[in-house]
Amino acid sequence: MKRRDFLKASVGAGVAVSTPFAGSSGVFVPLSPQEGRTLYDKIWDSHVVANLGGDTDLLAIDRNIIMDGGPGSVMGLLEERLTIAHPELHWTVCDHYVSTSPNRYTNRSLNIGSTHEDFVTYAEELREMGIQAFGIDDPQFGIQHVVGPETGLTQPGMLVVGGDSHTATHGAMGCVSWGGSGGAGLRNVLRTGTVIRTRAKRMRITIEGTLGPWVRAKDVSLYVIGQLGAAGGNGYAVEYAGPVVRAMSMDSRLTLCNLNIEMSSTTGMVAPDDTTYEYLAGREFAPPGPYWDQALRSWRSLPSDPDVVFDREETIDMSSVEPQVTWGVNSEHVVGISERVPDPDDAPAGYRESVQAALDYTGLTPGNPIAGTPIDEVFIGSCTESRIDDLRAAAEVVAGRQVAPNVIAWVIAGAMPIKRQAEAEGLDRIFTEAGFEWREPGCSKCIGMNGEHVAPGNRAVSNSNRNFIGRQGRDSITHLASTPMAAAAAIAGRIVDVRRLMQGEPV
């Protein structure tokens, strides 16, 4: 009997299955009927084509997001003239290489790289092949991890793969997703509609307590990574749970899962609930009318069973956590805004050299308060926090204030529908009147592949996802923080506590 047939029969008979194969022998070991399954395992099991030994399976994918440039991009795909097994499952958007200048539509040469110059042509060819492709002239255009959920291309219960590591973002919709299917992996998923993958261990991170004023999903993520470490999720698929996550908007959940990769876990998830379904309803690629109720019934069966046992459980109480800001070169290098830059001598055993190297790069003095550090640039955008909730929070901070002299401050909505919504609410005028540049959607300075960088030697506060050495441009320094914290830094010209700014206290 094929494995998936067994699963179906078992589930029908009221028997739940978790990891039926033990070791590499391929011997089938049914688990006790009492043991429930996680969200991750339910989705995984329903996509298994064949077991390939041990915990490695051949899986049928539901969505594949193709990169716009680099190895394994749309260009290579077109050059190879591949036969695509299920074209309707693949989509692409040219987000990394496009200019975010408002002039990019009239002066097309601003969009660097042959990938984009010809994307209009590519997009047509791809559409002829049956692959959805979004160019800059498309009304749904944006950053891939914003476009997927915003258009309804990503839905609960799906298996979503992509080239980009932040494909983790989509797990917020209640699906299993991961990045890394570039190069030969892309060719194979296009040809077969399948991927080979080893099942991860399961970790549940329960977020408890309540979020204080101006503490957001970004702060939850940075705090969690500060506690568990930049390698804390390695080997695990993470399910975020608990009252704080349940109360979060979809925009916040997407931030949470986006940053899951920053603790070296490729898959972060939130179980779908009414917040998810209400968000999806009516979106362009959401299940059309006749299928909606059927989809909803299917989705409601996805959340982890109450009796399920995770390989690892972590509980984080957010009640006394303040807005977070990074001081070093990865996301575990983080402190609360009222805290001080750490001393390498206080680093955990074996970490002294890494902490010293990080401080050498960011140029901070151990023992100094992180607040008050002068900054040169502020970047608000990226697949982490560029959705309407984020822009509204930034606008609330910026309204009636002015960007500090000599600070370069950009705001970039994650996708065109968000940009139009923000403009309808007048947020763009709040930003531009304060001295921010209001630019067009794209990845931009988060990674700099389009030639837009934080200038050499400049210190930036960014609401994006990586503060790696040289990430935003060579010799640039990045402090990661939430969107309102980044907005507050732009106003003050220094790293400041957004709570104090908003209470009119001296910062």
Binding site: V49, G53, L58, G76, A184, I469
Partner: protein, 220 residues
């Protein structure tokens, strides 16, 4: 040249080479290993020269003497003893191909960034995970034995280091087999199950028809 060709991988059976100690730097990420933002004072760098560029060269284009691979004894290193979570970050294949172009065939670390680890297997680089204490011992050995070679044997799953007891390692059986055969492409294996994939897909089109409704023009 197209972008989707299977990378040419050599068979990996055993490797003898100089080990460079880099184990005190944890979370070395893909933006350090394979940077995207160029050094304005350096143009026309080859892939091997771009490996570790942000910490290997100073902004003025001169070598950073503190970086291990710039030190005379380790310039020809082909084995890197690395810290926790080596290769964390992005999915870019250059995170593996640049160090390989430099000449690195083996990285030994307590843990690896998950996407880097899979990319390494796909491109024929051997990534060995060992207990942190063992990695530290190997790193300390490489410091005290500059330019001395060690042997990594994938057939026997052991590392032979002059003056140290033989170190065994375990590795995912599928990755080991692929590296030993030099056949890292998974397409043939996938195609063997195309009948099963077709059946599952047909069934799924009935049970979850909404998954398949977004084809070009369908809803636009």
């Amino acid at each position: 040249m197209t972008n989707l060709q299977t990378p040419q991988t050599q068979r990996f059976v055993r490797h003898i080479g100089i080990a460079a100690p880099f184990h005190l730097r944890h979370n070395v990420d893909t933006d350090v290993i394979a940077p995207l933002s160029p050094n304005p004072n350096m143009t026309g760098l080859s892939a091997g020269e771009r490996a570790f560029e942000p910490i290997r060269y100073l902004s003025n284009g001169s070598e950073n003497p503190d970086f291990v691979l710039n030190q005379e004894a380790y310039r020809n290193a082909s084995i890197l003893i690395a810290g926790n979570n080596f290769g964390t970050g992005s999915s870019r294949g250059s995170g593996v191909s640049y160090p390989m172009a430099f000449g690195i065939r083996v990285v030994i670390a307590p843990s690896f960034g998950p996407i880097f680890y899979l990319n390494a297997a796909q491109r024929g680089m051997l990534a060995i995970t060992l207990d942190g204490e063992v990695v530290a011992r190997l790193g300390d050995w490489a410091v005290s034995n500059p330019g001395v070679e060690m042997m990594v044997d994938l057939e026997r799953n052991v590392i032979e280091v002059p003056g140290l007891a033989t170190i065994s390692f375990s590795i995912d059986a599928r990755i080991r087999d692929k590296l030993l055969l030099g056949a890292t492409d998974e397409l043939d294996e996938m195609l063997q199950h195309s009948e099963g994939a077709r059946e599952l897909r047909n069934e799924d089109r009935n049970t979850r028809p909404w998954i398949y409704t977004n084809g070009t023009g369908a809803n636009r």
